[in-house]
């Protein structure tokens, strides 16, 4: 299979949006790419790292998005085109750097920032439209609708960035990032740049560097002005497209993957002669002349975009500024309630909305009422399918230990949670133990507050949790705070040697770089000890020892924050590494007496590993051999020891 670095312009590959973005970066001359994993953007760096050696570029998994963005900017200062991709939350993390970066400019390299939003928060802790940052910080914004456009726009974004001397944003959403489509490859650049930081101290003519912020007010003004340089390009851009009649009953203004939904919805309803679709590919700054031209086609406008009323607001703001010179129009969208102001959109939703506006009833094709009704009834037999931790997941052991230790302690303690696979502790998968969950590092941060309320009678044990990758990303400052301000909490680091939820990318504690080469391993325990915290390490599958250690640490309120590292490799990582399973598991049918046990299906109802199921006919628990990974943990929770493990 050909890689994305193949030097074969004009050939076609089936690429997902993220792969196309990586290819676009290569075509745009990228030399430096730094990123922190985040769904839906993670594949971008993975794919670049796979070809980094061949292309002689630098790729890295940075410790967090702020450092990633700063590093990429540093490369751009030195004349090397740089790319940093992130999910919506990463944009928040970078924001303080960006708001200063626009004061100084980015030098001659070029800096492209790709943001992957996740409408409906399919894989996120929040739903957020990151496009606002471009309006907020005077940065140009492009929105591709297909994998092909993603490639072409990213390539173009490097030029735009150099033109405005600021980062250029390319915004994708989940449905673009992870959809594969045909991409025709372009040319790879032949020249190679030399890196040099240009603005060093000149002892003969000492002067302030361009890369330092100040005088601040004037620089803000300059940032506004620099953005305007891109307006002529956007006005003329072929990424802003119109299809439909010269004059339309309804003008749809859309961007991103919603363009495809609109096209398909119009086709399905046969409205091609009545509805015009104006697609904005250059979303910010608004190409006002182009927009005005389209607005003149119709007296009714419908905005179809994910997630917020970004373009809707910008266009309406622009239209208001035109006053009476623009004939009055009806604007429909999120403000009017025609399009939801949250969640992912889809072809059906757009079709329903168009149908309602234009009085064309939308029926689901090919289905009559009796089919829909009958099928709807039949579908009720399908059980809900909640997400769960994987079979063999060490977090199941960790949460079991937390649950029991806090219950034994008896003072209604809690787990302040964080972002990762272990976030699933907020539901049955982790026994509902996780009682707060916000952002990266949020758990240990919140614990700092709860841990300093003794004067107000607070006596509940506080366990902050975070994964190993999250630890490096965001937790260290909060841990320092906990030691320094003597906050009473235990920080449990769930070390499974992976950034698991996003796809097992390596991090500083793993010993491997993005390219697969060996890398220095940052010693988490030594680091925590150096901060002055008490540190213990235990195995989340050793339920007895770990519970005892945790209870001991809860009782030890002498210092401030203390650290318990729960260490066991992620089962999916282990499975790929080892191939063979550690144990063969079985439920002994003569020991398990099913509901007669009196445990009320502890293994299945409470412990809940998907590898354990209920044998309806026999009336007892059973191992699902197609799911069980042979980790052996369930053998330690059955009160009758009916679950047996045998070394494989």
């Amino acid at each position: 299979m050909e890689g994305i670095d193949v030097n074969a312009p004009g050939t076609t590959q089936l690429l997902m949006g993220n792969e196309a973005i990586a290819r676009g970066a290569l075509e745009g001359g990228v030399g430096f790419s730094s990123q922190y994993p985040g769904t839906p953007s993670s594949e971008i760096l993975s794919v670049l790292a796979a070809v980094a050696k061949n292309m002689r570029i630098h790729t890295e998994w940075s410790v967090n998005e702020m450092v990633a963005c700063e590093a990429a900017a540093g490369a751009s200062f030195a004349g090397i085109p740089a790319l940093s991709a992130m999910k919506q939350n990463g944009v928040n993390v970078c924001s303080d750097f960006l708001v200063n970066l626009i004061m100084t400019g980015i030098g001659t390299g070029g800096l492209v920032l790709v943001t992957g939003d996740d409408p409906s928060a399919i894989s996120s802790s929040n739903e957020e439209d990151s496009r606002w940052i471009c309006k907020w910080m005077d940065m140009p914004l492009l929105e591709p609708s297909t994998a092909q456009e993603a490639k072409d726009m990213v390539k173009w974004a490097f030029e735009i960035s150099r033109l405005v001397d600021n980062p250029c944003f390319v915004r994708e959403t989940t449905r673009l990032a992870h959809t594969r489509g045909k991409v025709v490859l372009g040319e790879l650049p032949s020249e190679r740049r030399t890196a040099r930081f240009p603005d060093v101290w000149d002892m003969c003519k000492p002067a302030k560097s361009q890369f330092t912020s100040g005088p601040f007010g004037i620089l803000h003004h300059k940032a506004h002005e620099r953005l305007k340089r891109v307006v002529p390009l956007f006005e003329a851009s072929a990424f802003n497209t119109y299809e439909g009649p010269e004059e339309a009953e309804l003008l749809v203004i859309t961007s991103g993957v919603c363009h495809l939904y609109c096209q398909e919805a119009v086709a399905m309803l046969g409205l091609g002669s009545r509805v015009g679709i104006f697609r904005l590919g250059t979303t910010w700054p608004l190409p006002e002349q182009a927009v005005r031209k389209q607005l003149e086609r119709s007296s009714k406008v419908l905005f179809v975009e994910e997630i917020d009323a970004f373009t809707e607001g910008n266009v309406m703001e622009f239209a208001a500024s035109l006053g009476a010179s623009l004939p009055p129009k009806t604007y429909l969208g999120k403000r009017s309630g025609h399009i939801p102001s949250w969640g992912a959109l889809g072809t059906d939703l757009v079709a329903q909305t168009l149908g309602a506006i234009l009085n064309v009833p939308y029926k689901v094709a090919g289905r009559d009422a009796s089919y829909s009704q009958g099928l709807g009834e039949a579908a009720k037999m399908v059980p809900p399918r909640a997400i769960n931790l994987c079979p063999g997941c060490p977090h199941r052991g960790s949460y079991w230990i937390f649950k029991n230790a806090l219950a034994i302690d008896g003072r209604h303690g809690l787990v302040a949670g964080d972002i990762g696979c272990y976030s699933l502790g907020f539901i049955g998968a982790g026994f509902f133990q996780e009682r707060t969950m916000h952002c990266m590092g949020g758990g240990v941060g919140v614990a700092n507050g709860l841990g300093n309320l003794k004067e107000f009678g607070f006596d509940q044990p506080v366990l902050a949790i975070a994964g190993d990758s999250t630890f490096f990303h965001a937790c260290i400052p909060a841990l320092v705070n906990g030691v320094y301000n003597k906050a009473n909490f235990i920080f449990a680091i769930l070390d499974n040697s992976a950034t698991a939820m996003t796809g097992f990318q390596p991090h500083p504690g793993v010993g491997r770089a993005a390219t697969g080469d060996p890398a220095p391993r940052v010693d988490m325990e030594a680091l925590c000890r150096a901060l002055g915290a008490r540190v213990e390490v235990c195995d989340p599958f050793d339920l007895e020892d770990s519970t005892r250690t945790l209870l001991d640490m809860i009782a030890d309120e002498t210092g401030g924050a203390r650290v318990l590292i729960m260490r066991r490799v992620c089962e999916l990582v282990r499975g790929r590494r080892d191939k063979a399973r550690p144990y063969n598991m079985r439920v002994n049918p003569s020991v398990c007496v099913g509901d007669a046990c009196g445990c009320n299906r502890l293994c299945i109802r409470v412990f809940g590993c998907p590898g354990l199921i209920w044998d309806q006919e026999a009336g007892r628990a059973k191992i699902d051999e197609a799911i069980c990974t042979g980790c052996g943990l369930c053998a330690d929770i059955c009160p009758q020891k009916a679950i047996e493990r045998e070394a494989a």
Binding site: K403, N404, A407, I408, E544, G598, N600, V606, Q640
Partner: protein
Amino acid sequence: METQAFASFRLRADVIDRGLCPLCGGCAAGCPYLGAQNGRIVQLDCCTLPEGSCYSNCPRTETDLGELSHSVFGEPFSPDDLGIVKGAYLAQATAPETRAAAGGGGVVAALLRFSLEHGAIDAIPGSGLDGEGHEGLRSRNLAASSRSAGAPTPVLLSDAASVVAHLSAQHRYARVLAAFNSIPKESSAKLGLACLPCQVASLRKRTGNHTGSRVDVRNVKILIAEFCATKRWLEPGEDRQAANKACSFCWDLTGELADLSVGSGRGQQDWNTVLVRTEGGRHAFEAARRGGALEAKPLPADSLAQEKKASRDKKRRAVRNLTALTGTKNDLAYLGTCPKVANALQGGA
């Protein structure tokens, strides 16, 4: 769902939160949802079941002494100060090293060791020394993981040589019921054990195992009660005052539902007071005497009088404290409202 619908929550409300729990262990080890820590029974999770052996096995939930007496002795509950007694003795282990190890007469250790050696019993559920393992026991319950440093473990003794050491330890009865609850349910091993009166009551409240989910209590062939001086061994971290308060609701100094009851010799160092209650108890006692493991003589009258007074005082104190707890004269909480029982406990007025 209304939490009172769950047996475990009723146990908490009726027993633990009311300060009645003597920490006998009858509930904890058999159930994965309960544990014990620092002298408290703790609930690890909710089984959501409306009925459970945690509640029914507890000596401080509804206990019908009349029914239990019929079931054990075939007789009504006795109004005598010491309950049903078929023979009262002073006895001692013949081996001096057994007496030295146990302190006092060493009767419990000698009797159970003899019974084990001669096949009257196959195993003794007991309390482990120094973090001993769980060989022979199957239940893996997280009460074990809650155990503090220095706390005993449940064990099943089948080796006669280890009996004296285990049955001489200060904490010898602390894990007996946990061990019993952990015996594989299909086991037919004959069991002999010694424990406190509340633990005896917990065992006697269990009927034969219908569902096959637990070992059958009818496997217990010799059930010995040790007189309970209230100053029982404390769990690490347990509060002495709270423990004494819980025990002040107990009516049963000498273990009136056991096969045999054994107490200290009351000033007769090297001797134990032994009260034989059932035919099974008598059989075991006589066998050990005939076999040379025990020496016995009749209990002197003044010793018997002292034991009766101590037992009577405890019963009266229990009645007083229970009526204070319930606030109603004839309501003895877990002992019910039957006047016959109340009268019997107050010396058959």
